[in-house]
């Protein structure tokens, strides 16, 4: 299909929106990396930085939504263009939520540095965040390249994140049962793990939107799911 509109301003509008999504994606990736790094190194300064930078992500979300509303009102997009606008509005929302979770991770770190450290947990959480960040990077590539296969691959990888979360959940339970003084830090760490798992779900949603954008229909929901948690 031709990728050029007869009205070239239409192309410029669409490219502008897409550029903002990619910029937002970059900021959110950086937020995940830095939030998990600040957790690993108990770096309060970096946590504060992540919290401060979240505003820019929220502003981009607002901007993208405005641009999409304007495009719908002024250009009446159809077919592929319509799907692009619809998917971008959702993707922007997903990115904004992921940014919030990263910010929340940083906030909890500023509390955690005051508490008894839990052995091994920070490393595991960082690996989990790293996996989510890589999935996010790949799904943004899939979006920009309109690559359904790559998006499908990201969908499958969410299971690994779910499994990491389940393992951490059990670990935190045993820590808390061992010593009640571990409850407060473990609750914070558990929320971080849960939020990271939710980030993975938002990445999955971006992958689904990418597939919808390219193919015109949502993927069938048949990807494997790890059990959320196993009651002891």
């Amino acid at each position: 299909m031709s990728d050029q509109h007869i009205v070239s301003a239409f192309d410029r509008d669409l490219e502008g929106i897409q550029a903002h999504v990619m910029k937002m994606g970059g900021l959110v990736e950086a937020a995940i990396v830095d939030a998990s790094q600040s957790l690993l190194n108990q770096d309060e300064e970096l946590s504060a930085e992540v919290i401060r930078r979240d505003q820019a992500i929220d502003d981009l979300d607002t901007l993208i939504n405005e641009e999409c509303a304007n495009l719908i009102a002024l250009r009446a997009p159809a077919a592929l263009d319509l799907r692009m606008v619809l998917s971008v509005m959702k993707i922007s929302g997903n990115l904004e939520r992921i940014g919030d979770y990263a910010k929340n991770m940083a906030k909890r770190n500023t509390v955690l540095v005051q508490l008894t450290p839990i052995e091994g947990a920070r490393g595991a959480l960082q690996r989990m965040a790293r996996e989510v960040q890589l999935m996010l990077k790949d799904v943004l590539d899939a979006f920009i390249e309109r690559d359904v296969e790559k998006a499908q691959d990201v969908l499958l990888r969410d299971r690994d994140v779910d499994q990491m979360y389940n393992a951490l959940f059990r670990e935190f339970l045993t820590f808390m049962m061992e010593d009640p003084r571990h409850i407060t830090p473990c609750m914070h760490l558990h929320f971080i793990a849960k939020n990271t798992e939710r980030m993975g779900d938002h990445v999955t949603s971006i992958a689904e939107q990418t597939i919808y954008l390219v193919s015109g229909s949502m993927p069938e929901d048949n990807r494997p799911k790890a059990t959320r948690y196993e009651p002891e």
């Binding site: 299909m1 031709s2 009205v7 159809a78 077919a79 015109g216």
Partner: protein, 265 residues
Amino acid sequence: MYDAPQLGNAMDQTTTKISARNVQVHYGDTHAIKDVNVDIDAKTVTAFIGPSGCGKSTFLRCINRMNDTIDICRVTGDILIDGEDIYDKRVDPVQLRAKVGMVFQKPNPFPKSIYDNVAYGPRIHGLAKNKSELDEIVEKSLRRGAIWDEVKDRLDAPGTGLSGGQQQRLCIARAVATEPEVLLMDEPCSALDPIATAQVEELIDELRSQFSVVIVTHSMQQAARVSQKTAFFHLGNLVEFGDTTQIFTNPQDERTQNYITGRIG
């Protein structure tokens, strides 16, 4: 699993009103319509879209044999309305056109009174037994045309004295006065302002409960707004035909996609 046959489905509630089979139209040496096959549903608005010269108007005019009047025009293939071939020798084009009404791009009221414009068809087809029945038909048609309230006090005034939008609605009232089963509209709103356009579109939606409406339009937004089915024509071919929502969200043919998204195709 049982595979539903491609043609026809017992669960399908809609019935086919117009059926075109291998329709070809030539204007002299020009091949204007190339082997078009399509089934148009009863009580449905079907939009024909496509770039200028793609054959959508030509095909529309085949449905009430308007092309008969053009000497160099040759139509082959079959067009069936309710299963009957309208190109059969026994079919009287005048009777056919009472059954298949048409509204044109430019409002073309007769140089007669508003009343006579609407009464003309019912009179020549003998649809009214007396004056009071004719009055009823005229009022009902003008109401259906959503213009009754504006003209009821001046039915003797000339139809040509109305505004463009009113004239077009008068023409629609005139077209529905003979109780057609199919209403063909060739760009009915291209000369109208947005308010008159909206009134005509509202009217088309109302007419759908009784008629099959087929509308040719250059405004894709209008096709999207008024129709349930859309057919995309390109260089004399029917490229894609489907539910309007599908055509406008997920067209299957690249040519359709390029056209409706305004891309260089």
